[in-house]
Symmetry: C2
Subunit: 176 residues, 2 copies
DNA sequence: GTTAGTGCAAACCTTTTGCAGCTCT
DNA sequence: AGAGCTGCAAAAGGTTTGCACTAAC
């Protein structure tokens, strides 16, 4: 149970286990999702309305500095805030669909290999590592393909109605 | 010359090549370092005092959306701003020393392998990828080792002077 | 009993937006 | 000519800080 090992880590450092910290640790640990500070605050505030947003930030900073949670930004899908996860599992990459926001986790040997190579190549001591990948998930890829076809059909239809382009809107308007 | 290919890319999309954009592109391209928006603004402002900070942000956003520059955060060494680099070279990982701030770039096959595995494993289409690693570079590792020894000696000396700890300052104060 | 931790308000830093005027094509 | 771009000022979003009070050890 990661919460307990985190608590142990904190106690060893002489960090006090306050009511607020107990609650935040529990929420971070049991939540499957990747929480950002605001979301964590919302959840905590529901259970303890006295708990302040600032305490959330201070606790996250503490955990981050202690290497107990990792900070992600999931390719800034959804804004510039940070997301957090406990450092329970093996190292993994985060794969974010830029269309639907789904986040997948990828474990696999290239990550370990990368780590080992960097350490030996530079004589570097790795403390934190993070790999984030953005693009389209398989589901959104097919949706997009359909959309593109659709758009192409529309364009073709337009071309028949307006054979040589009526407005000055002939270039520009990138499909992205 | 990457600037020119970027300019071409922009022209194709019907994006205007203004005086400001020309300057910013040149600065991003020729600067070896990883610039953040503020630094880029400073450099640009030196050469063209009329250029506004907002234009820097708008240009970076444009280039980012067009896939012409990549956004990094270098493990937030130095703050929460973003850093930018042209997408010239092969994909690479950024290796940041958390003590001295030096940034190394790591090329190597695990990165390509990782990419291929993620694409095939999830049927995912990768548009952006980024790997950032934080820790201590070889130079700082040896400096730190020396510091630790030093601290240990100090502590030992203290222990002789105050055999059973005088103040309540006996634990806590993590060395980090 | 101490010192670390909390809440509150206010500041901070980075980035975005609304709008009027300018400029590239 | 006219849409796209810029500058300015102001706002927004996320996070940090100063300070007096509270609570964990």
């Amino acid at each position: 149970m990661p919460v307990d090992s985190i608590k142990g880590s904190l106690r060893e450092k002489g960090v006090r286990l306050t009511r607020q910290r107990e609650l935040l640790l529990e929420l971070i640990d049991k939540s499957g999702e990747h929480l950002d500070a605001e979301r964590l605050f919302q959840l905590a505030h529901e259970r303890d309305p006295r708990l302040n947003r600032v305490t959330v930030y201070r606790t996250l900073k503490l955990l981050k500095q202690g290497g107990l949670v990792d900070e992600l930004d999931l390719m800034h899908y959804g804004g510039d805030q940070h997301y957090y996860e406990t450092r329970m599992k093996q190292e993994h990459a985060h794969v974010i669909c830029l269309r639907c926001g789904k986040v997948e986790e990828f474990f696999g040997e290239p990550l370990q290999k990368l780590r080992r190579q960097i350490e030996s190549h530079f004589g570097f001591q790795i403390l934190l590592a993070r790999t984030e990948v953005g693009g389209y998930c398989s589901h959104c890829r097919s949706l997009r393909a359909r959309e593109m076809e659709q758009a192409a059909r529309e364009a073709a239809r337009q071309a028949i109605v307006e054979p040589n382009g009526v407005g000055p809107r002939s270039r520009s308007k990138r499909p992205a």
